[in-house]
């Protein structure tokens, strides 16, 4: 069962759409659930589908299509590094190598203590700040250097 807080947040999204078009809120609903849980399970996706009165398979299609959704356990802090052209030209590879070495994991892996996971990301649309990364999808860090990455990670408990 979805918590009351979750339901309230989804209800607020539902106000944006006609009353007979609840499915329109599925991306928002999955986002809200993932932000609370860290990743999406089949059960959570089914709960979202039920709440919006849509087929479970349609919600699953959405969860598997949009790449900011996590379908496997992620770290407490999911780090997504952009490696697309504008970041690559400004040495995003150095940032990736630094992170992989520091955390001792590759892309799509989680550290043993479950604190961090690492993902390769496509263009985030903020290339003047290249190279850049996001933490848990919603917090962006720009103009990265290995030193700056160290600082950012140190501040995370």
């Amino acid at each position: 069962m979805l918590t009351e807080t979750t339901r309230k947040k989804i209800d607020s999204e539902l106000k944006k759409f006609p009353i007979d078009q609840k499915q329109s809120a599925i991306i928002a609903a999955l986002q809200i659930i993932q932000t609370e849980n860290g990743f999406l399970t089949d059960d959570l996706i089914a709960l979202a589908a039920d709440y919006l009165g849509m087929p479970k398979i349609a919600a699953m299609e959405v969860a598997t299509f949009y790449n900011m959704f996590e379908l496997k356990p992620a770290g407490k802090y999911k780090i997504s590094v952009c490696t697309n052209i504008s970041c690559a030209l400004r040495e995003a590879d150095d940032i990736v190598c630094h992170l992989q070495k520091k955390l001792n994991i590759n892309f799509n892996e989680v550290t043993k203590d479950s604190k961090f996971s690492l993902k390769e990301s496509e263009c985030m649309g903020a290339c003047s700040g290249a190279p850049l990364m996001t933490i848990n999808n919603h917090k962006m860090h720009e103009h990265l250097t290995p030193q700056k990455v160290d600082q950012i990670l140190e501040e995370l408990d």
């Binding site: 299509f65 263009c123 649309g125």
Partner: protein, 438 residues
């Protein structure tokens, strides 16, 4: 009206902020700041004077404004496709899902000047008789999604949105919608599917969104920069806008400059500015290096070698004559040390990763292209690989429902066209020409 200094800028050597005109003001994104530069006066004037949509569309046609998302379709003509008098709900959608690598202008408009976008969308809604609008924002720029929600709340509270705007009898509801990581949703029918709560797979056209959009209702989709330009055109007249640019390319355009450049950022400049001038404005190639190549409008537009782009002006006709395109104005600068083979590998991976999988030539072809380039970069290329890449790319192009397939072919064809020797060298020697001396 603008002061003379700004009009002098139309001669083409300075930035000329229209969409970004609040950027240098304190609290640039606040309602108060927008009001201080005459914000929301145009929608009020239009509603008070009951100016006819036809007259407003005429003004936009005179301005020469063309869609700023990449297709460059004349906005005035597009807006006349939606019958103003048809019954039932109609929708206005703003496409802020900028995922084309190297594009970051919509983010800055939303961040620095959201109210001008809101006013532009409201004027568009009035013109096309729409009651509801959505701004579809790229999921990765989450902080801008949240700040836009705040701007919407501010505008609603001040009655610039909602029921009877400014007490003048026109209703318009505007909502923010976030994506969650899918480049394809920048394609307007994929975006519409996404708003309906589905996978972002483009629709077969016709019918076009103008007659069959969100929930099957007439829908107009335009880019953020396009809508944000409208209040200025209404304030200063279409002719003033057209006069800023050059023939066929009215007004200003934001170029997002990234890559090997001293000062990456957004530069809103009069169209027709020589590339050389923009290069100077943005501080030149970084580290004092030489220019090798430029992608002028994002990877969906063909790359141009330095010698060619240096002779080009930044407008629709000039870039077209050079064999490329304005695209979304996502100008990616590459210095003399750049390996074009490795760069193409990254771009090809992007199109493979982001293909929605609906059309076989794109789903299979993008993966095939990526695997061939990867084997070249891994030192296992075969002499026939260049022809294979060209052949597969040409067979994707024109054989898919949407433009992603065409876009995926563009970098392959243009990189090989201009830098074939580098590809041959890599295949023959198993290493990059850029590493030749190491």
């Amino acid at each position: 009206m603008l002061n003379n200094k700004s009009h002098n800028a139309s001669k083409g050597s300075e930035v000329f902020p229209i969409c970004l005109r609040t950027s240098n003001l304190e609290n640039s994104s606040s309602l108060q700041t927008y009001l201080s530069i005459g914000g929301y006066q145009q929608i009020q004037r239009i509603l008070k004077e009951k100016i006819s949509p036809e007259k407003l569309i005429e003004e936009i046609k005179i301005s020469g404004l063309r869609g700023r998302g990449g297709a460059g379709f004349p906005t005035g003509i597009k807006w006349s496709f939606i019958p103003n008098d048809s019954a039932g709900t109609k929708y206005i959608v703003c496409n802020s899902d900028e995922g084309e690598p190297g594009t970051f202008k919509d983010r800055e408009i939303i961040k620095k000047n959201p109210h001008q976008l809101i006013e532009g969308m409201t004027i568009a809604a009035y013109i096309m008789g729409a009651q509801v609008g959505y701004n579809y924002i790229h999921g990765e720029i989450w902080e801008e999604y949240e700040s836009f929600e705040k701007a919407l709340a501010e505008a609603k509270k001040a009655n610039f949105l909602g029921k009877s705007i400014c007490g003048l009898g026109f209703d318009f509801e505007l909502h923010a919608f976030h994506g969650y990581g899918a480049y394809i949703c920048g394609e307007e029918t994929a975006l519409i599917e996404s708003i309906e709560g589905k996978k972002g797979q483009p629709r077969f056209k016709p019918p076009f969104p103008a007659t069959y959009g969100i929930y099957g209702r007439p829908t107009n989709v335009n880019n953020t920069e396009t809508y944000a330009t409208i209040p200025w055109i209404m304030q200063n007249g279409g002719e003033s806008f057209a006069n800023i640019g050059v023939e066929n390319s009215g007004g200003t355009k934001i170029f997002s400059v990234s890559g090997h450049i001293e000062r990456p950022g957004n530069y809103e400049i009069p169209m027709g500015m020589p590339f050389k001038t923009l290069l100077e404005l943005s501080g030149g190639v970084w580290k004092g290096r030489k220019l090798k190549a430029v992608i002028p409008g994002g990877p969906s537009t063909p790359v141009l070698p330095a010698a060619e782009i240096m002779e080009t002006t930044l407008d629709y006709d000039s870039l077209k004559n050079s064999g490329s395109s304005v695209g979304a104005g996502s100008l990616i600068v590459m210095d003399e040390t750049t390996c074009m083979v490795s760069t193409l590998k990254r771009l090809s991976y992007f199109f493979y990763e982001e293909s929605c999988g609906q059309c076989t030539p794109c789903r299979e072809g993008t993966g095939w292209v990526y695997r061939v380039i990867k084997r070249i970069v891994d030192g296992k290329g075969k002499p026939e690989d260049i022809d294979l890449l060209l052949d597969v790319s040409k067979k994707i192009s024109g054989r898919t429902i949407c433009a992603l397939g065409d876009a995926a072919a563009v970098p392959v064809l243009s990189f090989i066209k201009h830098f074939k020797d580098e590809f041959k060298y890599f295949i023959k020697n198993g290493k990059s020409m850029m590493d030749a001396n190491s």
